[in-house]
Point group: C2
Chain length 109, copies 2
Amino acid sequence: MNAPRFGSLHEGTAPEQGAESFMELARAGGARVESIASRAVTNGAWYEQAWTEFVLLVAGGAALEFADSTIRELKPGDWALLPAQCRHRVAWTDTACETLWLAVHLPPG
Amino acid sequence: MNAPRFGSLHEGTAPEQGAESFMELARAGGARVESIASRAVTNGAWYEQAWTEFVLLVAGGAALEFADSTIRELKPGDWALLPAQCRHRVAWTDTACETLWLAVHLPPG
């Protein structure tokens, strides 16, 4: 079946205050594409993954924090490439509006 | 080496009128993430790929055309999942501003 599918990052379920919602949009050969909506997150969970993640900030605003306490602020259009074992978390996301991300989990190795 | 890298979709090379510019942002395990900037493209080249492509329209506006002549308009935040062998092309992109895309080429199979 080779019919295209369509959607919008703006049509996902709105997360609760301080929380995130995830939706898987595509998956093949060990790669995954997901959309993430965040609302006023502060000091999110730490991640240290066995694969590379590419993340694009599409709307809103946010900052990522790294193991060495570096904080990197992201605005719409900004992306981050997080190699395997790069420990990181969301430091904060915008408190005034929903923040939308596109995340690509690349195949390990 | 597990240091993160950062960038912005807005910082790529501006394409000529009627053209597109491509930049590879990440590659691993047969998956590729690239940014595409288009300026006033009309009737782009047809693609029929051996892998699934996920494409997100980040800024500007565009329409995709399919083998059955269906045209699908995309605005910022809209995405399309194009399965392998799904013949498609860019029908047009905004003539007033640059159109920015994020494309994810998923591993075949």
